[in-house]
């Protein structure tokens, strides 16, 4: 996750231990995101074409599709990260927990705090220790209480299934651990600020199979607390970790449904041809 910018409103921050995200009565009762007629342009080039989709809370939703189909663009617009690219234009609406993510008075930094992101390449801050990496978001948000920081440090590392491996090396540089551990460190950093959603952009593409398995196991565990949206090129991974799958092709949503249905009996011919390896 990108650390919240200093412009994040301090009024939202308290030193009280944050409660875990509220649990809806059933995971799919209220969509975390309601995307309505979303279109996105980079300059003249249209990257997303009129996509409407509801992403349920506390589920893992996989976004699949060939390179250039708009997967990452779609993911990034869920926490307004795409706005960091110049000449971006957006049409349509994204409701996050019923509220317009793009309303004029909405703070992008706050959106990014509530909707965290894990990137393809693990990116711990190189000058920071493991501990500092995990806590950087909290510190930027003004949390100073050592007790709270320690508590959140251990909790985040435990949730990222990394605590046992690094608890004696917390002062070592974040870049001193393996690639798989670094990616889990980035997940710990993302969840330390207690977001409600985790967006993951190919989080395992640079990892070996064992590290990938650990991250996938982590995704399955985290889904009980967080809404997770994951972009992946690995269709076996999408099949393993996700509850819902959306297939994008040249900026359009071709099919969206239960992962088991998509990978056993897709309704659309394009989906079938893509997931069975007939084009892409």
């Amino acid at each position: 996750m990108s650390p919240p910018t200093p412009s994040s409103p301090r009024s939202e921050i308290t030193d009280a231990p944050a409660a875990p995200p509220a649990t809806p009565a059933t995971p799919t009762e209220t969509p975390a995101f309601e995307v309505k007629n979303l279109s996105i342009w980079y300059g003249q080039k249209q990257a997303i074409n009129n996509i409407s989709i509801n992403i349920p809370a506390q589920t893992v939703t996989a976004i699949i599709g060939p390179s250039g189909c708009g997967k990452s663009t779609f993911l990034r617009c869920l926490n307004r990260m795409h706005e960091l690219v110049p000449k971006t234009r957006i049409e349509g609406q994204i409701l996050f927990q019923g509220e317009n993510l793009y309303r004029p008075d909405a703070d992008p930094a706050m959106a990014r705090r509530r909707i965290g992101m894990v990137f393809q390449k693990s990116n711990p801050f190189p000058t920071m220790s493991i501990e500092e990496n995990v806590l950087v978001g909290l510190r930027l948000n003004g949390v100073r209480d050592r007790h709270i920081l320690n508590e959140r440090l251990e909790k985040s590392l435990r949730m990222a299934a990394l605590w046992d491996e690094v608890k004696n090396d917390l002062k070592k540089p974040g870049t001193s651990i393996s690639g798989g551990q670094q990616q889990r460190l980035c997940i710990a950093r993302a969840i330390a600020v207690e977001p409600e959603v985790l967006l993951m952009d190919e989080p395992c593409s640079a990892l070996d199979p064992i590290a990938t398995a650990r991250v996938e196991e982590l995704i399955r565990e985290l889904r009980t607390r967080y809404t997770i949206v994951i972009v992946t090129h690995n269709m076996q991974q999408a099949s393993r970790v996700s509850d819902k799958t959306a297939f994008l092709y040249v900026g359009e949503l071709i099919e969206y449904g239960e992962t088991a249905q998509i990978f056993s009996s897709p309704r659309e011919r394009k989906t079938e041809d893509y997931i069975t390896g007939r084009f892409g």
């Binding site: 056993s264 009996s265 897709p266 079938e272 041809d273 069975t276 390896g277 007939r278 084009f279 892409g280």
Partner: protein
């Protein structure tokens, strides 16, 4: 449907399907031979029907081995996955049909040549119907003909009814000719084997539907869903 980008995948799927159709062809010959064995009382054909089982068993093992290899190597999904899983199941059903054919040939061989039993009259129509059902099940699989496949359940019930009628008929004959009870029992068992051929053919039809349209048409009256 266009081919896979990975052409080895196409070749592996084509080969698996070809093996299943070859196995079906051998099973067809085996059933035909067992019918000739029974109805024409040809001992040489009986021996052929019995010895053909080995090749069919070997093909079943090959289909399973190649199917697992495709799962391991290509991680098929959607229609490819259904094709692999169904073809492996069809291989199992074909092997069991061939088993029934061999059992028929073994029993037929035991029947005395003289005095001749009236088995052609009793079992002939059931044999013809079971053969037709089997051939249509293979046609449904080969041509992805779901309409044809969906007729097989009803036709299997007809074979079940024929089996009951034959059992009644043979039981009556046993009462009339107690000295020939062992022979009539062989015929009773042969009818039972043919009834099982119908069951397996119906199963193949169900797998043909699943392969083509991902619909599970088994046990239509059982509404229980197990999570």
């Amino acid at each position: 449907m266009p081919g896979h980008i990975l052409r080895d995948f196409d070749r592996a799927l084509d080969s698996l399907r070809a093996d299943a159709l070859m196995m079906a062809s051998l099973t067809d010959r085996n059933l035909q031979n067992s019918m000739t064995c029974l109805l024409d009382r040809d001992a040489a054909i009986c021996a052929v029907a019995i010895s053909d089982e080995a090749e069919i068993d070997a093909l079943e093992k090959k289909i399973d081995r190649d199917g697992v290899e495709i799962l391991r190597r290509f991680h098929p999904v959607a229609s490819d996955l259904r094709q692999v899983v169904s073809t492996m199941k069809i291989g199992g059903n074909l092997e069991r049909i061939a088993d029934q054919a061999v059992k028929i040939a073994r029993r037929a061989r035991k029947l005395p040549l003289e005095p001749e039993l009236d088995e052609a009259t009793v079992l002939g129509p059931m044999f013809i119907e079971a053969m037709a059902l089997f051939r249509d099940s293979i046609r449904a699989y080969a041509d992805a003909d779901t309409d044809l496949a969906r007729t097989l359940r009803r036709r299997d019930r007809e074979i079940d009814r024929m089996n009951h009628d034959i059992a009644d008929n043979l039981t009556a004959r046993m009462a009339e000719q107690p000295d020939r009870i062992p022979d009539y029992l062989e015929l009773l068992f042969i009818a039972r084997h043919l009834e099982r051929v119908g069951d397996h053919a119906k199963n193949i039809g169900e797998d043909a539907v699943y392969t083509a349209v991902a619909e599970d048409i088994r046990h239509p009256n059982n509404l229980l869903e197990v999570a």
